[in-house]
């Protein structure tokens, strides 16, 4: 993933005060080569082509930063003309435009300038403390076929924040250059990601870091693709503020976390019995003496879930009630968490570590990322990329590879962690140092959605009534359960109605989640609804019905035959459906569709339909076993899902019953 990364220690070399930038205007004529550029949507050149985009961020200037920017682009369509709408951000009161040029080069050789005086300043936001302005200008006379060339040098407030530069845009970039001149005296670093297969280079000259790229294509958009940050080449420039060898960075983080954890567990406790409160709580848990360590830890996880409120996952009612109470200031300590019987996600995980260690297991914290947004990149030495805390437990006598992961207070069973942390790398933090580990997803058998549905027809056939109930375990509907709990009652009811399938004219009359007041456990929902039907013609002999609306989970739709990026599912899963379809009045079941069985590398599917005295019984099983399917194996997955979709559209046939004599 990481094509290039480099770290540079702070130097004592005196800061250069040079303001002169090497960024200059492009030629004021359209070259013959530029004239030949025509729309080529298949290669990312539809509305326009960025011919050159160059930026120089100079932080080697006393008391301020300087940004120089140059864009040259060919406009290919009317939509591409928007590239000629210029906005120059001026942050803070120090923001100032030092130099500007802007011109439109028309196909007939005419050059139309936008003078600096025609740039208009607009206040974006202004308060007593901060002002954000933008200079706006529209390059004139822009038509498809023209080339625009503009640039500026601006002064900005000093910043030491990381700068992330996306190296792929909406459109094809033929030449991209980014120069960073860091501030002297600080450690500086950059990390370039996802540059494989692209013509991208990073080099260092003196203190300046240069990134250059050619013919950088736009990023395609595909369903179930990895997060944008993981498909778009980018470079991040940042200061490390870390005076030691960068290779030791994550080990230092681990030591720091461990110290913090020890403080958390022992804060304000008597020197001779610092964890007495943990022992007392373990006594309260009534763990059988002969239980193995895994059983003990499972009990601890369940006990925390039942007895310590996770403040990060409260329902809207709990939030309202909490806000109405008076709360004394709380310490960030396990003792306070136990005393108050509430804590944040992070505190509950640290508390679990305390219990686990007290019970003799080795337990450490793990820092993880939300992989729907970005992945962990160890080359980027910044903890800001890590989103959440988990716990890794190692029962006595086991190798470190056998760790069990826990997210205490998440509502998930012992050994399960929320799916959005799985399938990617995380950082295991032990007193001995840090280690990158891959968080494996839950097994499909642990995430089962079981739905039972009945379908009845109104006597006059004017509507079908569908009632179904679902019990979902593990990761199935886990995130929805969290969301639904946090919603306000009216928003919650709307969401439940949506989950129950309200769409078009399918009208949900009942949608209920029975144990939403409970923090953890399975997701259970019961639904009822109906859809108007056009009654069959009195002479019609057949009646057909598709059961696909009867509580069947959404099957991923992958219709495109081409794929550039891997398919990323949320989690492996199993869906089980049993549907009882009653015969409409005056009709009886006709032919029974043959069973369908589809076996693929990424899943299994079975559909069995049986005739019953009152109609049909449909039994459906779908197991989607993969978390990540590489693009090279996409076709197998697509074929499997196509077969599943086809089988799900099986129609049940009824024929008119013979009239009774």
């Amino acid at each position: 993933m990481c094509a290039g990364a480099a770290l540079f220690h702070g130097s004592n070399v005196a800061a250069s005060s040079k303001r002169v930038t090497k960024i200059t205007p492009g030629p004021s004529t359209i070259s013959d080569e530029e004239k030949t550029i025509a729309p080529d949507p298949a290669h990312g050149a539809e509305q326009g082509v960025i011919l050159v985009e160059e930026t120089e961020l100079n932080q080697d200037i006393a008391a301020q930063d300087q940004v120089a920017y140059h864009l040259r682009a060919k406009i290919l369509t009317n939509e591409g003309r928007d590239l000629a709408n210029v906005e120059i951000p001026l942050e803070g009161r120090f923001g100032e435009l030092l130099q500007w040029w802007g011109r439109t080069l028309l196909p007939d050789g005419t050059v139309v300038e936008l003078p600096q005086k025609d740039l208009n300043e607009q206040i974006v936001r202004k308060s007593a403390y901060r002002e954000t302005r933008v200079l706006k200008g529209a390059l004139p006379a822009v038509v498809p076929g023209c080339v625009i060339d503009y640039g500026y040098v601006a002064r900005a407030s000093q910043s030491t924040q990381p700068v992330r530069v996306s190296l792929q845009r909406l459109w094809l970039v033929r030449e991209l250059r980014y120069h960073w001149i860091p501030r002297p005296g600080f450690g500086s670093a950059y990390v370039m990601s996802l540059s494989e297969g692209l013509d991208l280079q990073a080099t260092k000259e003196d203190r300046m870091i240069r990134v250059a790229g050619k013919n950088l294509p736009p990023v395609a958009s595909e369903p179930l693709m990895p997060p944008d940050d993981e498909v778009r080449a980018a470079v991040t420039f940042y200061y490390t503020f870390y005076p030691k060898n960068p290779k030791q960075y994550w080990n230092d983080v681990a030591r720091h976390v461990e110290e913090n954890l020890r403080r958390f567990l022992t804060k304000d406790q008597p020197a001779l019995s610092r964890t007495r409160y943990l022992k007392e709580a373990i006594g309260e848990m009534k763990i059988p003496a002969d239980a193995d360590i895994a059983a003990k830890l499972r009990t601890v996880n369940d006990w925390i879930g039942a007895n310590v409120v996770n403040l990060s996952l409260r329902s809207s009612e709990e939030r309202e009630a909490y806000a109405a109470e008076k709360h004394a200031p709380e310490e960030d300590s396990a003792f306070d968490v136990m005393s108050n019987r509430h804590g944040t996600n992070d505190q509950l995980d640290k508390l679990f570590v305390g219990f686990a260690r007290e019970l003799g297991a080795e337990a450490w914290l793990v820092l993880a990322t939300d992989r729907t947004d970005h992945y962990f990149n160890p080359s980027m030495i910044s903890v800001d990329q890590l989103d959440a805390t988990l716990v890794a437990v190692l029962p006595p006598g086991n190798a470190k590879e056998a760790v069990t992961l826990v997210d205490s207070g998440s509502g998930l069973p012992y050994g399960e962690i929320p799916w959005w942390y799985t399938g990617s790398k995380a950082l295991l933090l032990t007193p001995d140092g840090a280690k990158s580990i891959t968080l494996r997803p839950s097994e499909a058998k642990n995430s089962v959605s079981e739905t039972k549905a009945t379908v009845r027809f109104e006597g006059d056939h004017t509507s079908d009534k569908i009632a179904w109930s679902r019990t979902a375990t593990g990761q199935q509907w886990y995130l929805d359960r969290r969301w639904v709990r946090s919603m306000r009652p009216d928003a919650r009811q709307k969401r439940l109605v949506e989950i129950c399938g309200q769409q078009g004219d399918f009208e949900v009359s009942h949608a209920e989640v029975p144990d939403l007041d409970k923090h953890g456990g399975s997701f259970r929902i019961s639904c009822e609804g109906s859809r108007p039907q056009e009654p069959p013609d009195e002479t019609a002999l057949d009646f057909k019905y598709s059961f696909s609306g009867a509580g069947i989970e959404v099957v991923p739709e992958l219709s495109s035959k081409n794929r550039a990026y891997p398919v990323i599912f949320n989690f492996p899963r199993v869906d089980l459906n049993v549907i009882e379809v009653s015969s409409p009045e005056g009709f009886v079941p006709s032919e029974v569709p043959p069973p369908v069985k589809v076996e693929g590398r990424f899943g299994r599917y079975e559909l069995t339909i049986a005739r019953t005295p009152g109609g049909f019984n449909v039994s459906r099983k779908l197991a989607l076993l993969a978390l990540r399917v590489p693009a090279s194996e996409y076709e197998d997955l697509r074929k499997f899902l196509t077969e599943v979709t086809r089988a799900d559209r099986t129609q049940l046939s009824f024929r008119r019953a013979a009239e009774k004599p």
Binding site: P41, E46, N78, N85, Q122, I123, V124, R125, K126, S127, A128, Y129, K136, A138, P140, A141, S221, H256, V257, N260, L311, S312, S316, R319, E320, Y322, A323, A324, T344, D346, L365, L367, D370, T372, V383, D387, A388, T389, W420, Y421, R482, R488, P489, G504, D505, E507, V508, R531, Q533, E534, P535, P536, T539, A540, L541, F543, Y545, S546, S559, Q651
Partner: protein, 670 residues
């Protein structure tokens, strides 16, 4: 990113976070002003712990005082109450202003339940630019109070002075959340006349005391977010106000007495902006170079030239918000906003010897124009071109020709809408009342909203059933009017994504498809966006080989539906519209029987289905025309019938199996 996946409370890495003293509320204790105390006294109980709405406005008052010179002072007060602990937004109060307004004071008081009130500091105020114009002077002055709790009441008071452009205006009684009591008060100098009118809904009569008038409404609802519904802001009452000094008293702010006077004022503002110079003459030559000689062809060519050559950029600063730039400037820049583009179009017509009128209209908000009291509540500029008596109007332009009364037939042209063909009225403009500015003949004209033939989708599918039971399908769709505008917009953002969308839609019906061709015609001579996709559907498996082919399987996807059982508000479609699907089927046995013909006609819609044999082919067509796209609750029965007919059409099928000998049926719900 998954919400809450980031532990914001994570103190793992000991990064010292400095608490900012500036947000401390310790030293802000203050007395509430009397008006706020009165609000507190009358505040109803909070009610249930987790109510439907998180906030409400207990009281809102806008007080306008017209000064003898026509300038105004404005005082706006309102009191927000948090009904939930999570209603932090209650602490944010806003006041709209622009370069014609000077904000004099901004103050707020926060009364947490059971605690003392605290007052805002100057530092709590901040301004943000408003709107999506490229450049604008519209701003919001915000005041933010923190520490909001359930039951907190936050009182805001803003005062400002304003130089209005006209002595007439509209006041919307809408706050974006439920309002218990809202009040509008107007004070005029002695002897001034005041005219008022209600739009949309009749409001209360004014309480009058000398030169002070007040209107008060209670219990106004917040927004209704049901799909396909009217926005609450579009149906709540609007008060139109016009004031005028006594006869003989001159003030620097115009007070038009009627729409003709208003038009004259606007003509003064726009005077000279449309001057035809050599640049315009040259532009007219270029625009009309390939046009035919007929008047309407020339109009269409000129409008298309402006629509396509001048990019839309709005610079809405000061007078630039209502005054067109000179056509010379627009031509030189090749950019401008609606009034710049419209004015250039008019100048090009003028250079070619054709007359036209500016039209001021509101693009999005309905019913903002009073017949009696002229006020500037327009946000769009289009053009009306007179169509001489007897001049034949081609079908291509007929949908935008409207009876202009004394002005005769008028062709309405919107050169700003880049995706709509000239000759159509967009759904945003349909039904809106605009002011045609034509000197003493100026008049209000309402644009039609019931032209179902204008906005239409015509789809022809040729389905060939091959001997191996695979299907070869070519589907050509011609989109007209609003349908075309939407399709063109999609296509122009990304032709590749558009193609993918179309491929996904056919795959949604046929499951496994192999596209063999895809092509488009961006703007056909008849104004259509034409899109053709050809694809193959492989031989069916034994499981699914019922031999039945649905004739119009996509019908059900073309007219969106919403639940009706609990609905109490009208269901809206964007526009009156016609959907016409035609399927030509070959390769089916001669014995296959056809679905029966059908013709239905109701107050708001009509439908027709036919199927005939044409040699070896079966030709079938289905058409539905929705002439009145607004279905109030009493018309839900009609709407249900419409949907049932669409479902029925979607299920209509031909038994194409070789063993076919059964009658064709249209099964429900399949």
């Amino acid at each position: 990113m998954i919400p809450h996946s980031r532990d914001t409370s994570r103190p793992l890495i000991a990064l010292a976070l400095l608490a900012s003293a500036m947000f401390s509320s310790a030293a802000r204790a203050a007395r509430l002003p009397d008006w706020a105390k009165a609000v507190v006294e009358h505040a109803p109980p909070l009610g249930e712990a987790t109510p439907k709405e998180t906030a409400r406005v207990l009281f809102a008052e806008t007080r306008v005082e017209v000064l003898p010179d026509g300038h105004m002072t404005i005082r706006r007060r309102f009191a927000n109450q948090a009904l939930s602990a999570t209603a932090g937004e209650v602490g944010l109060g806003s006041f709209f202003w622009d370069d014609d307004t000077r904000v004099e004071t901004s103050r707020a008081w926060h009364l947490p339940p059971g605690e003392k009130a605290e007052k805002s500091y100057k530092e709590d105020a901040f301004d943000v630019a408003l709107g999506d114009a490229f450049l604008t002077d519209d701003k919001l002055r915000h005041l933010r109070m923190r520490g909001i709790k359930r039951g907190s009441i936050v009182f805001f008071e803003f005062t400002a002075t304003q130089t209005p452009r006209l002595l007439s205006w509209l006041f919307p009684f809408y706050e974006g959340v439920p309002v218990l009591r809202t009040r509008y008060e107007l004070t005029t100098p002695p002897g001034w006349t005041v005219r008022t009118a209600w739009l949309r809904t009749k409001g209360p009569d004014a309480q009058i005391s000398a030169d002070v008038r007040a209107w008060e409404l209670n219990d106004l609802p917040g927004p209704d977010d049901q799909p396909q519904s009217e926005r609450a802001a579009d149906i709540l009452p609007l008060l139109v106000v016009g004031v005028a000094p006594p006869q003989g008293v001159q003030v620097p702010i115009p007070a038009p007495s009627d729409w003709q006077a208003f038009a004259a004022w606007y003509e003064g503002i726009a005077a000279g902006r449309d001057e035809v110079g050599p640049e315009v003459a040259e532009a007219a030559r270029r625009a009309l170079a390939s046009s035919g000689p007929a008047l309407l062809e020339r109009i269409q060519a000129a409008a298309t030239f402006v629509r396509d050559h001048v990019r839309y950029i709005a610079k809405e600063v000061g007078i630039g918000g209502i005054q067109p730039r000179s056509v010379k400037e627009t031509l030189s820049n090749l950019y401008g906003d609606c009034k710049d583009k419209g004015t250039l179009f008019r100048s090009i017509l003028a250079a070619a010897g054709h007359r036209s009128y500016p039209v001021l209209i509101n693009l999005r908000t309905p019913e903002t124009v009073s017949d009696e009291i002229p006020a500037f509540w327009f946000n769009h500029f289009i053009v009306a071109v007179p169509v001489p008596h007897g001049e034949p109007v081609p079908e291509r332009l007929a949908h935008a020709v409207v009876d202009g009364g004394d002005l005769g037939r008028l062709l309405f042209v919107d050169t700003t809408d880049e995706y709509l063909s000239i000759g159509w009225i967009s759904s945003a403009l349909a039904g809106k009342k605009g002011l045609v500015i034509a000197g003493s003949a100026s008049r209000l004209v309402r644009l039609p909203d019931d032209d179902a033939a204008a906005h239409r989708l015509e789809r022809r599918s040729r389905i060939e059933v091959r001997p191996d039971r695979s299907l070869s399908i070519e589907r050509t769709t011609r989109y007209f009017g609003q349908f075309a505008a939407l399709a063109r917009f999609d296509y122009r953002q990304s032709s590749i994504d558009r193609r993918r969308t179309v491929e996904r839609s056919v795959a949604g019906i046929w499951i496994e498809v192999e596209t063999t061709d895809y092509s488009t015609e961006y703007e056909a001579p008849d104004g259509a966006f034409v899109e053709t996709i050809a694809f193959r559907v492989p031989s069916p498996t034994s499981v699914e080989d019922s031999g039945e082919i649905r004739l119009f399987p996509d019908a059900v996807d073309l007219l969106p539906r919403v639940p009706l059982v609990k609905r109490t508000t009208p269901v809206l479609y964007d526009t009156a519209q016609t959907l016409r699907l035609e399927t030509i089927l070959t390769g089916v046995p001669a014995s296959a029987s056809l679905p029966p013909p059908q013709a239905l006609e109701f107050e708001r819609w009509s439908s027709r289905m036919t199927a005939t044999r044409d040699g070896e082919a079966i030709r079938s067509s289905w058409e539905v025309a929705v002439t009145r796209p607004r279905f109030p609750p009493e018309a839900f029965g009609d709407l249900r019938k419409l949907w049932a007919v669409v479902s029925s059409a979607s299920a209509a099928l031909i038994d194409a199996s070789p063993r076919s000998d059964a009658g064709a049926v249209a099964p429900p719900g399949s």
